[in-house]
Symmetry: C2
Subunit: 228 residues, 2 copies
């Protein structure tokens, strides 16, 4: 992996396992990382505390949390409290899908990147061990990158953006192995969609199941605290 | 213009002249309109009152105003109070450009559209009498439409979105003529970037100049209230 010369980059940081790994990978490549978290009315809002811990441990240049309340739009178990988080994995796109979420988050990251003069964005989408979300696929990322270069002054003026997705072809176990090699402390990350207020995970939602299986397959001890 | 059979559509409504015209055009085509306004920390936040008046006069199905504070990102005279709104029009992209704004607003409109089952989005971008913003050009809109169909469950499942830009090739005078024919009451709209708290316009910023010149070229009396 070639090191970049301390270029600034915006890294989307949810507080989960994937984005913590992405941040470590970006830093390992030599990027000066600006971490962006979104307070979007998510049921598992306690993940923002995890994001703050991850950002602090990593020593990012700046960590910004933007409020963008998606509850008035709803349409997802994550942003509508009347829809339960499922504890079985079914076929198709699950009800935890938040309409246009990654498009929205990348748009905000893009705006910040343009302001600070960064040409590089990092997002922890993954097309292998994922939940079937359409906005985690490479074809979406490619289309977004093209759009970002038409939407912005930087793009128009010949400073194109690159959307980095270093996890996109990795299994959850591979992600955990890579992060562990880089010293990521997964005990401070939170993946659960219905964590309790102390940040303990349910162990039963999609996100918990994928995470649990990942640690098992990686043969690395799972540091997650579970409730119940 | 063919009438649609009362299909739902999301219309981005700023409270300005252009989006009020777009709303009227969409309704004239038979769309059931859901209007979306964004409270993004804009200097001319009083435009949201204009948006509410426009939505009410038009009789939309629903008018939603989402808060998404872009001031922490800044980088524009519209979202950073330390940058003055220019009163002369220079070459190039002006400092009133808000990084990734239309991409962000369309992403939010897309999210809402997906939740209510709408396949049609309307936005009042214009590539003729405009301020040189990159995100008002047809190539951006085309790229966004492609992205939206890769980003969403609806797109993946074969219910593609269409981004309508009925003003894109019209001059400001043509926009005003079309809107006037449809009965748009431009006295309740607000275009000024630095309007006062009573919603009166400065008459000097880019947006005011384009609007003023449009009424003059259309040979229609300008109902705008100016201060100073």
């Amino acid at each position: 992996m070639s090191r970049v010369d301390e270029k600034p980059a915006v890294v989307l940081l949810s507080g989960g396992l994937d984005s913590a790994t992405v941040l470590a990978l970006a830093q390992h490549q030599g990027y000066l990382c600006y971490a962006l978290s979104l307070d979007y009315g998510q049921r598992h809002r306690v993940e923002l505390k995890a994001a703050a811990r991850v950002a602090q441990q990593a020593g990012v240049v700046e960590h910004k949390t933007l409020p963008i309340d998606l509850r008035p739009i709803g349409g997802s178990a994550l942003t509508d409290s009347t829809i339960d988080v499922p504890e079985t994995m079914d076929e198709g796109i699950p009800i935890t899908y938040v309409p246009a979420r990654n498009l929205l988050f990348l748009s905000l990251a893009l705006g910040w990147a343009e302001v600070i003069g960064a040409s590089d964005l990092f997002i922890g989408v993954n097309a292998v061990d994922y939940s079937g979300y359409p906005d985690c696929r490479p074809e979406f990322i490619d289309a977004f990158q093209k759009t970002s270069n038409l939407a912005t002054q930087a793009g128009v003026e010949g400073r194109p953006f690159t959307i980095h997705t270093p996890l996109i072809n990795l299994s959850k176990a591979e992600i955990i192995k890579q992060g562990s090699q880089l010293g990521v402390d997964y005990s401070v990350t939170l993946s659960c969609y219905q964590a309790d207020l102390r940040g303990r995970a349910c162990g039963r939602c999609d996100s918990c199941r994928l995470r649990k299986a990942g640690f098992k397959a990686a043969n690395i001890a799972d540091p997650t605290q579970y409730f119940g």
